[in-house]
Each structure stands twice: as structure tokens, then as C-alpha cells.
Subunit: 301 residues, 2 copies
């Protein structure tokens, strides 16, 4: 079924202990679209400048991504440059130029309005709310956010949280949102604020999901080397939302399956710089790694 | 089957964000004996001073713990006092008095020599090796250690690692042992040094186990409150070794089951100060929490 994503499209300069790349394809919506396209047709909402490489949108279209909602605006594409610390769980933003995202006001194409699944990737919650308001009653809405919005746009974010079904954040963001470092207490507060489920990402330790009646925890795939963590969270969300949109199964078991597919996609993308690893991936490789997750986590009854 | 443990027996003064207790029962062998006694008869090796509360050893005996190997020596019992930081993953040792452990040289009773399972809890590797040398070909030997011995007694520890089947350490100790922060690389080095399996504890994130052909990861049980983390690692080891000794099943599936029982025991002990929670526990409560682990981790195929 149809899966809409709204979020940034960017050109990133990345420094990790494994090396450095300039003007790599980046942005949450980009990572999400590449990863989710293995599961279901994706409708992309975002903006690029005149400097955006022409081949990229064509490549995405070739993968079943609808780019009617990607505005080509006069000006420069969002550029981000960041450097990861040795342990990869901390990064410094060296430079940020919003470019065409500076005063971007998304207007989704009429053909997108009936999207049944939607993911509001990490951008200004006012824009997330704006896009959500243009949809005709989607079946399931997922949402990401970050410290910048939690600290700076709290009323808008709180209002938005009351309207989404699933929040996907990392452990630091969950603590910042709730004031609770304990993940059980933080999750309870988030569920009380609106979402029916919350997925808390814990980096190399995996993900823990809380709904009203169930808790599900899955470890991260053990990797010998992480080349570039950028986009791991977006690809995780893409696997989750992509599988939910593909199957239409939002039962607890369906959600668990989706979370593991999310973990699969997050584990692949970090194996190379930018979204490069996704470009050489096949559906068979994804399903093979899903089976490895089953084996990795199997607890005898 | 018979399970021997050698390790410290202590009186602890503990400060955690939840409160403070003085002269609580402590020591790795004590925690281990209490927790493992739910699975199999335990043979305890250690030393106490004249000041050790007389009721404790009787209580342990009542739980099927053989205390013939606990030497009552003139002098004081080992005393440790520690303070946990707010986040509970860091603690400071405020005071340590080795007491009768200062020049303790364990001599196991003849009745212990045929022990088929043995756990060398965290003490001087020279003492661990000494006890191991007194056993008549045990079936499976597990071993713990800590930064103090990794940094200060490396040759003795390395020699010992060549003689044990299973190493149980936390992630920081695995990194210190190998120089690798990446858990996959660290585990490979540890397996190359002798043990057939290594269990790496990751605190609130659970445990990951590596053997030659398999990796198993299990999250920690999500607790709303941790009262006192002391003994969590020893109780984890006790659940692992206790279940292995009970079942005699050292196959990959048997080891997985044991690791989950270890996680169960670690999750209980932190719910109260010292080993208090273990004293009110029943086998039914343990099996119920095992089932909760099955539900927590179940990935649909």
C-alpha cells in the first residue's frame, strides 16, 4: 500500500573513522525512500535546489519512488557536514546550510492525499503537521523528531504527538522528551501523550518497542565494522513503515516483523558511506539477514 | 549435576540512588550460591571471618548449598563499600578490606573434586587456577574476571583462559582484554585465546554470546526501577551455570536457555538491596519471568 514520506533531501559531507566523503547523497527522506522502496511504492515529499544531481531522482523513480512531491526550487540543496567520534555514537555538526529548506512549505500533490501510511521524518514539527493535515485519514502515521525540536518547538511537537500512531526516537530523545532516563518510565509517558506505540532506538544495542500491552526488544545485528552511521535511524524507520505498508498487518506480530525489517535495513546502510549500500542491495539479501535475526534472537521455549 | 563456585564472601556497605545499607551480605560466591541453588546443588568455596553472621551459612545449607568448602578463618570477613552513580552503570569503591581473603589459599574438600560444573567467580586468577587444578576433569568451567586482574595479572589470567570453557565478562572488560571496542572483533580474539564461548554482558542492554558457529543476543528484562545493581553479574553467571548443570545440555540451544535463565536471575537480584530479593524468590517466579523473556524477544519467522 501507499507510503508517503516527508523529510529532508540533502548533500552531506561526512567524516567517520573509516574515511571522508564529500557531497554524498543525504537527508532523511532520501535514505527512507531508498530503503522503503524494497518493500512498497514510496511517495516522497521534500525539496532540492538547482545543484542537486539530476540522476538521483531518476534512480529513485526507477525504484518505484514517486517524486511528484519533490519540489525543485531555485537555490541550493540543504548541505550538512558532520564528523563522527571514534565510538560512532557521537557526532558533531561542522556545517549546516538549509538552502531551499530555509522557507520550504510542503504542498503535497493531489495524488498523494489518499496515502494510507505516512512517515514524518525529522524536520520542523510545523512542517510535519502541515503535511499530515493534507492527508485524507491515513491508516498509520509514524513520526521521528530530534533534540532541536524537543527543546525549541515543544508546543507544536506535543500537539503533533497527539495525532500520530507511532513515535520512533532514540534513547536520548526519549529521555529529553520525558525527563526519564529509565526506558520503561519514558515509554509510559510517551504512550500517555498520544502515540499507540513508541520505538526507542539504542544504537549498537538495538531497539525496544512499547505498546499498551506488549514490549518487544530486538538487538542490533552484530557488525564487525561500521563505516558510516548516517541514515541508520531513517533506514530503520523505512524498514518498519515499508513492511507495515507492504503487509497491511499492524497487529503486534506484524509490528514485530516490521521492527526486525527495520533493524535489517539499519544494519545494511551503515556498511558503506551515505546510502551507497542500499543501491547495491537486493530483496534476497534483506530476507537472508531477516533470517539471521531470527537465529540471533531465538530463545528456546 | 554438581556445580562448584569459588569466589568472595563479603559484607558490603552499599549506596545507590535508592538508599543505603550497611553490612549487607555480599561477595560473588554468595550471590552465585543463592541464585544457582534454584537450579542445582551448589558447592561453595570461599572464606569468612569470625564476624560473619552465623545464620547465613545455615540459610545457604537449607537451600542445598554445600558449605564444606567455606573456611571459617580467624580475622574479619572481606568488607567492601561502594557508591553507585545516578545512572547505576558506574560505581566507586569507597573502601575495601580484604580481611581473611588477604592470604587465603583455597583447598577444596575431597568431596568437591568430582564437580562436573565449576564457576571461577571474580577473584585473583592465581586462586581461580589453584581451584581448577584441584578438580578431576570437570565437564564445563566458566570464568569471570575484572579490570584489576586484566591489567595487573595478565600472564596468569591468559594461562587460565586457555583452560576454561566459557568466559563471562562485561563489555568494558572485553575491550580491556582485547583492545577492541567492537564486540564482534573482541569476541573473536577471546575465542582464539581459549574459551569455546564468551558471554559479554552489556548492563541494561542485555547480553551477547559468541561461540565458533553461532551468535546469540538477548536484551535485559525492562525494569522500571533498579534498587541495587550489586551482584547482577554473579547472578547472571549463576543462572547460566546453574541451568547448564541442572540440564546437562551444553548444546547451542541448551546454552541459549541457560543464558536466558541467567538474564532472569540478574533481573531479579537488582530489585532489592544485596541478595535480599533472591531470598524471597520461588522457582515459579523464575519460570514465569523466563516466559516473559520468550514473549519479549519473540521474532515472527
Amino acid at each position: 500500500m501507499s507510503l508517503l514520506v516527508v523529510g529532508s533531501v540533502a548533500l552531506d559531507t561526512l567524516e567517520t573513522p573509516a574515511g571522508k566523503v564529500e557531497d554524498a547523497l543525504g537527508g532523511a527522506a532520501t535514505y527512507f525512500a531508498y530503503a522503503a522502496s524494497f518493500f512498497t511504492p514510496v511517495r516522497m515529499v521534500g525539496a532540492v535546489g538547482d545543484d542537486f544531481p539530476s540522476g538521483v531522482l531518476a534512480d529513485l523513480e526507477g525504484r518505484g519512488v514517486d517524486i511528484a512531491g519533490v519540489d525543485k526550487l531555485p537555490g541550493t540543496t540543504l548541505r550538512w557536514s558532520g564528523r563522527y567520534h571514534k565510538e560512532l555514537n557521537v557526532r558533531d555538526t561542522l556545517h549546516l546550510d538549509l538552502g531551499v529548506f530555509g522557507d520550504y512549505q510542503p504542498e503535497i500533490p493531489a495524488s498523494y492525499r489518499d496515502s494510507e501510511y505516512a512517515f514524518l521524518a525529522n524536520i520542523d514539527p510545523a512542517l510535519q503537521a502541515r503535511v499530515l493535515g493534507q492527508l485524507n485519514g491515513p491508516k498509520l502515521v509514524g513520526c521521528d523528531t530530534m533534540n532541536h525540536w524537543i527543546e525549541g518547538s515543544r508546543p507544536v511537537l506535543d500537539e503533533l504527538l497527539g495525532r500520530v500512531d507511532m513515535l520512533i526516537v532514540n534513547d536520548e530523545e526519549a529521555e529529553l522528551l520525558t525527563g526519564d532516563r529509565n526506558v520503561v518510565k519514558a515509554a509510559a509517558k510517551i504512550l500517555a501523550s498520544g502515540p499507540k506505540s513508541v520505538l526507542i532506538k539504542r544504537g549498537e544495542y538495538g531497539v525496544i518497542e512499547f505498546s499498551a500491552n506488549t514490549i518487544f526488544a530486538v538487538p542490533a545485528y552484530p557488525l564487525e565494522e561500521v563505516i558510516d552511521p548516517t541514515g541508520a535511524g531513517d533506514c530503520f524507520a523505512a524498514g518498519v513503515m515499508g513492511e507495515l505498508a507492504r503487509s497491511g498487518d499492524t497487529s503486534p506480530a506484524g509490528l514485530r516483523r516490521a521492527i526486525v525489517y527495520g533493524s535489517v535495513m539499519g544494519s545494511f546502510v551503515v556498511e558503506d558511506f551515505g546510502p551507497k549500500r542500499l543501491q547495491s542491495l537486493t530483496r534476497e539479501m534483506i530476507d537472508e539477514r531477516y533470517r539471521q535475526f531470527v537465529s540471533l534472537t531465538d530463545v528456546p521455549a
